[in-house]
Subunit: 232 residues, 4 copies
């Protein structure tokens, strides 16, 4: 595969960004050991940058990242790509607006994933970030396109950037890798708060029209100038 | 707007203080990502210092802070003010004794906020710090004075320096920004302890006369010499 | 009060030790803000070294510690002694074997304190460390000897080095300050584990004869050579 | 006992590795104070390297480690071996494939251990790592071979590398010490997630055939090239 000088430069930059973003996962309590991974689409090419398999978080620098095509075939790298590469690749192939995908086994989101019911939108921050409930995806085994298809089918019908794959854990998407990492952090946070609320009693729902108005405002105000870091 | 030399000096000092106090929010587990903010009234002027919108905690130095008037209009700063500026400004306009306001989405306080019932005063530390139950404010959408009004209306009838705005999260006030940060830290701590107690059984209430006597003593002993750091 | 050269040297050494031990409290999640305190009896004198009131954990060095007599009167120091000085002093006056006292509001122990029932001994580590259930003390207001008396009356009838004062929080004792800090760390840990167990179901009790045999062995093996750091 | 030059070199290397691996225990929230320990079999000799008793985690360097034979008798070291040496030694004597043993009192695993029922396999990560439920071992007192025998008897009939000894805490095994530490980290993580799930409702089970297929794939893919760090 021939890589133009411009794409070369984009890849090098993404290798550094994706490596650095992995530090947010343990820092926010989303992963232990080597679990969890971040990937980024390479704009202008049918390529993605993703975490290598089985490398510890202390060793995850730009050089350790691997590059694959959008079917998960290795293009560059000294390690095997993450075992979740096929799922991320499927998402990039089928959802053109997605620039980043994150997968973790963060505890509260994974706990919700075992129950088969969406996480109810009872927080203004959920309305802002996810536009409603966080949906549950199907149970799917690793090894073919089942996980990727489950993610895409679930998120296509939802405003949410997070899906909890049943008995497995959250996958989040974003316009770029940082946005997908933000969605993973926010997803665990709201899954935790709603779980704590349910232990105390029955959380009051937010009326749908209020959810709509919070989501619309947040997308418009924070979206227009790249301020996707809102809630502050 | 002309700013006298004395106010100039006060603003510069508050910019540094408010920037530094933001570090207490992630350090005490009250915020993730860029959520949460601290503000301070500028004594002697109708101004306040507040966190900018969408700036990460690592970049929050004195220069990054913004100054607004007490209607939230930008007076100084290279960033937009926090999206919670209108709520804080409303509080400063209506409660003259308030010198600092803090807002977070800390998990236990936010969980309690969804239930519609106050957090019951079952801890001596709650009696000391909050003088009774921590009240719940109304559900209010961002965009006008509803949140500010909800905070002020709820806190006017209460000894508490914390209010849990329904389905949203805690706002705390203090005589200055540090005191409001302390209230935010204490609020999450007691919300957590009472939540844990409720999972174990039915916590014993503290008689009202004992709550009164604890609160009175704490205000007098710790208040007289600036020792608002009590409980030790 | 005249202080001999030997006592002078002991006090200086205890000031440093007690200051350093305070770092264990936030490190183990037992305290927030300036809450919590450690004290040590000065062997050979009717004196104790304790944390000053309202000083942040970052500033707690040997010089900041205060020395009081065993009625809580200030003997040395630039700050007021902790507001829990009277309780600690009462313990030193009435329990001759106690060389250290620690008080925190650690969340799980404080949650248990509101329920009026002892924490049941369902863990071998509880049998080792506390010799049975962790008892609840009476509800007592600050300001006279009620707290100190409640601690002493409860611990006199128990093997436990920890008592949970009702609606208030844990006090722990030890042969020296480090031993009391260890008891505070272990107390929160077992209060947490037993709370988690109760959320999952009904923990199996440990027969009294097994509790006795675990406690006896632990005291003898770890006690004989100063190895009070056991459980490893 | 005469130690060949090759075994000497292996022991020195294992002393460093085992010392370093202890840092993973507090880093992952598995131990407090001096509780918990890691050991490694010395390949080619009837020896093991284990943590000394009652030494704090800050002082655990290669020199502090102790060497015992597989009956727990001290061969090298300036400290007594961990009080769990007999249990680890029993495991090494009876399970030839085990190269590392870890014991902690990690909170969620220990909470489950009090209930007398296995932790149900409701997570794909559990199927990958443990091949099914995590079993509960018998209640056993320290002092003879009861704990070691309980571990071996339970794990012999299971794919799991973790056993929760009743009312005591988890023991994990691995092909080497690092693998056993990984199992301890993963064990606490899944015990926590399943506990959180149970507080929210009734987790959906994973069909046995899917558990089998996940476990088989994970062993084969990650096992063939030493990639036991999977789940990423």
């Amino acid at each position: 595969m021939t890589i133009s000088q411009q794409i070369r430069s984009t890849i090098d930059s993404l290798r550094a960004q994706v490596a650095e973003l992995h530090a947010e996962l343990p820092r926010n309590g989303l992963v232990i050991w080597t679990a969890g991974n971040v990937s980024a689409r390479v704009p202008g090419a049918d390529l993605m940058v993703i975490k290598p398999s089985g490398v510890s978080y202390d060793e995850l620098d730009a050089d350790a990242m691997v590059v694959t095509d959008l079917h998960g075939n290795l293009v560059e790298g000294n390690h095997l790509p993450s075992s979740d590469t096929a799922a991320a690749a499927y998402v990039y192939r089928h959802l053109a607006h997605v620039g980043g995908v994150v997968h973790t086994h963060s505890p509260y989101a994974t706990a919700w994933s075992t129950l088969g019911i969406p996480v109810p939108c009872v927080l203004t921050m959920m309305a802002d970030e996810f536009g409603g409930d966080i949906p549950i995806g199907p149970f799917a085994l690793i090894g073919d396109d089942s996980i990727g298809k489950g993610i895409v089918d679930t998120l296509r019908g939802s405003r949410s950037r997070a899906v909890l794959m049943a008995n497995h854990g959250p996958f989040t998407i974003g316009k770029d890798a940082k946005d997908a990492v933000k969605a993973a952090v926010m997803c665990e946070d709201v899954c935790r708060t709603v779980a704590l609320a349910r232990q105390l009693g029955v959380p009051h729902p937010i009326p749908q029209s209020d959810i709509d108005s919070l989501f619309d405002r947040y997308q418009n105000i924070y979206g227009q100038d790249g301020h996707t870091d809102g809630n502050s």
